[in-house]
Amino acid sequence: MSFISESSQTRVPCYRVLEDDGDLISDCDFQQVSKEVAVKMYSNMVTLQIMDNIFYEAQRQGRISFYLTSAGEEAISIASAAALSEQDIILPQYREPGVLLWRGFTLQEFADQCFGNKADYGKGRQMPIHYGSKKHNFFTISSPIATQLPQAAGIAYSLKMDNKKACVVSYIGDGGTSEGDFHAGLNFAAVMEAPVIFFCRNNGWAISTNVSEQFRSDGIVVKGRAYGIRSIRVDGNDALAVYSAVSAAREMAINEQRPILIEALTYRVGHHSTSDDSTKYRQLDEIVYWKKARDPVNRFRNWVQNIGWWSEQQETQLRNSVRKQLLEAIQVAEKTEKPPLSEFFTDVYDHPPSNLEEQEKHLRETITRHPKDYPSDISV
């Protein structure tokens, strides 16, 4: 009689392609990227970084009510998106706007959603950063954690039925893996042989809960085997490693019709959101270390520059240009009207039922009768 030990002697190794300083690890096998793709990846990572900074500041200035950054995780969202095709369907958690950025969502579109104005595709119904865009195959973000995982199994099921050469990519954080939906989503996908990539961003923190308080396993990658799912642990701050892993995972998912689990190790440099001050529960020098010494953007820049595909001049130009565009986008978004009252009752159902029509009529009457008690900029 022997018990399987609760943990193995060694931790599951982590796949990386670049050293911390951006030098290619010798004899490493990875998916080559063209100059075009590499430059696009790098530019998007910079854009994401600047976008996060500026929107965060906008929230601090009271211009938007809420924001959350993906600081420190730029490589994850951009590089994973780069390895996918437009037909692959994305089910985000909430810290992956980089995927949407890669697919062509404009800075204006981001700003419009954050300001909840009438140009927002969500018609001002969701809180900031809860983007959704059908044309980009990026499903609308829903706040409850991990609900997207079983949905991913459902979408993969739909792709299977239609025999499409595409997969689903669903993102989750380390904390989200504790939810029941994580267990069931992975289990379902395995049983159904569904083409889903479960991408776990293990960034060490779930608001104030450190991973040591979240689970006792060796991270998330070991859980894959429990469901019969092929898995890999990858350095989430290494853009080339993430790109290679997702490329390979995608092929396997589609050609072999199976789910894949990717655990990307990274660090949440920013606070959980604008409603959080992480210095309250973690050491400042820990944050500073990851921000300076382990920044994925710097690391990738070193590689792109060393190859000769990027220059300091381009860097300055890009940063200035993005910053300018963002500030303009915010100004425009701020001035754009909010959605009119007529959009308040639509899309609850396909056609408003009589009780909603009645409620709308009543609301209009109330606002007309007491205009001073209601916002003046709401178009009745």
Binding site: I89, F188, S354
Partner: protein, 346 residues
Amino acid sequence: QLLTPFQYLLSGIYLTRYILYSRHELLLFEALQEGLEEEMERDLRVCVMGEDVGHYGGSYKVTKGLAKKFGDLRVLDTPIAENSFTGMGIGAAMTGLRPVVEGMNMGFLLLAFNQISNNCGMLHYTSGGQFTIPIVIRGPGGVGRQLGAEHSQRLESYFQSIPGIQMVACSTPYNAKGLMKAAIRSENPVILFEHVLLYNLKERIPDEDYICNLEEAEMVRPGEHVTILTYSRMRYHVMQAAKTLVNKGYDPEVIDIRSLKPFDLYTIGNSVKKTHRVLIVEECMRTGGIGASLIAAITKNFNDYLDAPIMCLSSQDVPTPYAGTLEEVTVVQPAQIVTAVEQLCQ
């Protein structure tokens, strides 16, 4: 000449009547199955998912034979995780499929509340109309025969507040098939409540294709003295009480409200305007049930037409006991309904 002109005419009439009015007899669960099968034939996007719905045919046999006919993928057996297969159904619906999700017992769908409320009911709205969720969630609920508290839930009470969903309750083979088909064809998420004790009801239903309107109530027995509003199994207790009431000289109007969200206030209102007295008979608990909401809706809209306060007979605010004697007491019985009408009509 084989037949005289007159005989041709007669046989023509009989043939037409046969075609127009031809019916077949079946049980309620078979009617649900028939509706589901017809919709699956009609629209390739319709699929079924749930526990034991495949080769087992479903715990109440509603999906019997479907896996054999349509395959294991289109009639999918899922692992035991209600929140997950409901979530899966929502995901599939957002990509264009039309899933019919079965909860083995409605009570288990409490585990799916997160997906039903936060996603199913909301994503059409929060996505700005980009994603639709034409899903049907169905299953047996209500108080059965000694199934214990956890298998005797009335989930319509809990779900009625969720914006974005529709709720209907079937009660006869005819409306079971009609509502199943209508629910599948609807672009909105619909929850179809079946009752554990009604699956073996027998009726002759039309051969031709028909659907029932999701938002319409059903006039079971027109009358003049009092409006009795009910749904699902309680319809039968009401009709039993109605027999006694008629013998005692009362003329009750019985309406099976069928649509639990939204209420068919048109049919209900017309009835209230006629009789001026309302009795609600439900299986929900007294607190926060369909009856409670119905009282509020009728009072708000038709208060001027009421000659007496609305009466509502519900189950007590108690978990359903297992012991048969106690269980019987928890459900509204015909004798109570008779007494209530007599009181109301004083």
